[in-house]
């Protein structure tokens, strides 16, 4: 039970002047309970990859894209089931809010679900609670009058109300201020831990991905160039630098230090742990007492 992508290639506008190869032989997986991060420059194929994960782009050949062992190639007529199972939250999802009230907006996706109004209410209430908004306080509000962070939570709640097993987030914190960002990241972690939703998250923010993801894929020009745990990936300073990607601040610091201080542990991404590692190294080598 997982999302498996095997040796997938994809070309936009195949055979036309604007033909563009967006994915080349990509292999990717997200296992139950994981938080998987995807990083890479604009145009590296991240969005094309995540759109394959819930069948927004359908594979043109069998044996490349699987959700819970089902080949999406054979699912063309029943793809809506997959889209419920794999929720996708686009970048700036607040742009898609359109209903008069928060309650109606979150409930919108449930309209085709044949649920009683009580069941809908419960789902909406739970979804809003999960993203940290009180149902009583927010249900009657107009989405357009909310703050940026609140709007984004409402949009996220609309997807969560569908009870997805997998949640794909495309730059969920882009443009949010640090406070809204930190609390949204906490909600995401909570959705993962408490509701056991598998998370796939695209981000440009290395610090946030380093501290949240269990595994990371680094993409460049349609291929996966690096993958592994954050500490395995962010140790590859030169590769990431050559790809024009930034590193988490703590990884950068430890990379610079490791040029003079041989053997210092440069796999740390947490700033406080970083300070501890530095102090420990200085004491061991007699540089500080």
């Amino acid at each position: 039970m997982s999302i498996e992508i095997k040796d997938l290639s994809f070309t936009y506008d195949k055979g036309l002047v604007f033909e563009k190869m967006a994915l080349r032989n990509v292999t990717f997986s997200a296992h139950p309970g994981e938080i998987v991060g995807i990083i890479g420059q604009t145009g590296s194929g991240k969005s094309t990859l995540i759109q394959h994960c819930n069948g927004l782009i359908l594979p043109i050949e069998p044996n490349h894209v699987f959700v819970d062992d089902l080949d999406l190639y054979s699912m063309k007529k029943t793809i809506s089931g997959i889209r419920k199972k794999v929720g996708l939250v686009f970048q700036y999802p607040e742009a898609q809010l359109f209903e008069e009230t928060v309650e109606k907006d979150v409930a919108f996706g449930l309209k085709q679900e044949n649920l009683s109004s009580d069941q809908v209410r419960t789902r909406v209430e739970t979804a809003l609670q999960t993203v940290g908004l009180s149902y009583q306080q927010y249900r009657e509000k107009s989405p357009i009058l909310l703050s940026g962070g609140e709007k984004r939570r409402v949009a996220l709640a609309g997807i969560l109300a569908m009870n997805p097993q997998y949640l794909i987030l495309d730059e969920p914190t882009a443009g949010l201020d640090p406070f809204a960002k930190t609390s949204l990241l906490e909600e995401i972690r909570k959705i993962n831990r408490e509701q056991h939703v598998t998370i796939i998250m695209v981000s440009h923010d290395m610090d946030e991905i380093a501290n949240l993801a269990d595994r990371i894929y680094v993409m460049d020009e349609g291929t996966v160039v690096l993958s592994g745990t954050p500490s395995e990936v962010f140790r590859q300073y030169d590769t990431l630098y050559a790809l024009g990607l930034s590193l988490p601040e703590t990884s950068r610091l430890l990379h610079f230090l490791s040029q003079s201080w041989k053997g210092i542990d440069n796999s740390i991404t947490d700033p406080i742990r970083g300070a501890e590692v530095i102090m420990q190294y200085m004491k061991e080598k007699g540089l500080w007492n």
């Binding site: 420059q41 703050s147 940026g148 406070f179 601040e249 610079f256 700033p271 406080i272 970083g274």
Partner: protein, 278 residues
């Protein structure tokens, strides 16, 4: 002696029932010519409102704002003030209007009724400053996000402003383009342009010499960015500010007893400093 920009007891509120509710209250702020000032704060703290007040887009209900000696509430001064202080916003798509890059840059100068020679000269000059000369005849929509933001900056430069207010110019950009834009802004500041940089990214605050923190419409801090991050963590959190990771590491090392006589703002700098300690 009077400063280039002076805000004296400034209060401003939006009309009642308006969607915007983030007003500013009793703002006292002097900005000298040639300064690089950052304004930081959470969303809705009033930082963008402050920028728009300086640019005479909004007129305060209380208090006075002088820009290079001109009073923003004096309507005859509105145009000279806007020529002096230009703004660059978050989303360049919202301010790009023309069909080619050069027409876009010429738009402002054309409205100043300058001679066509002068307009051509300014267009060329401005495109050189942002390295977009080779895109002169491109339609703007084919530029990347970062290039569009550079174009927005070029259009503003063609007006020969003494001061530019950047309102979160990098928040929609990826890290590579973010770096390019920040580098360009620093270059322009070195050429003598007074720079007001509005942001909510703590790491970007470190590029300025002086930072002002806005919280619920008021200025709650005015000083060096490095001193700001040395403040008590609880206090920073109360302002909805989170120090950059590098500052967290430095603060942790300080607690372990390592002295930091000079402010350090970059990872490389910190590594070099630690390596020479004995």
């Amino acid at each position: 002696m009077s400063d280039f920009i002076e805000l004296n007891q400034v209060s401003f509120h939006y009309p009642e029932n308006s969607e915007q509710q983030n007003a500013v209250q009793e703002i006292h702020l002097n900005i000298a010519s040639g300064e690089f000032l950052s304004i930081v704060g959470a969303n809705s703290s009033g930082k963008s409102t402050l920028g728009r007040l300086i640019n005479a887009l909004y007129i305060p209900q209380k208090g006075t704002i002088h820009v290079d000696g001109m009073l923003t509430s004096d309507q005859t001064m509105t145009i000279p003030i806007r020529k002096t202080v230009q703004m660059v916003f978050q989303n360049p798509d919202n301010q790009i209007v023309a069909t080619t890059v050069e027409e876009e840059v010429a738009f402002g100068p054309e409205n100043l009724q300058l001679s066509s020679e002068e307009i051509q000269k300014r267009v060329s000059e401005s495109l050189d400053l942002v390295d977009l000369q080779s895109y002169r005849l491109y339609p703007p929509h084919l530029l990347s996000g970062g290039q569009k933001q550079l174009l927005a900056i070029a259009s503003v430069l063609a007006m020969h402003p003494a001061c530019i207010i950047f309102d979160e110019p990098t928040s929609l950009l990826d890290p590579v383009n973010r770096r390019i834009i920040i580098q360009k802004i620093q270059d322009l500041h070195h050429k003598g342009i007074t720079t007001i940089y509005i942001t909510h990214r703590m790491d970007e605050v470190l590029y300025s010499k002086r930072t002002v923190v806005m919280h619920e419409g008021k200025i709650v801090y005015d000083g060096k960015p490095t001193d700001l991050f040395a403040l008590d963590q609880q206090k920073l959190l109360a302002f909805h500010l989170y120090p950059p990771d590098l500052i967290k590491t430095i603060e942790a090392l300080k607690k372990m007893g390592i002295p930091f006589p000079h402010p350090i703002t970059h990872a490389k700098e910190l590594a070099d400093y630690l390596c020479q300690l004995r």
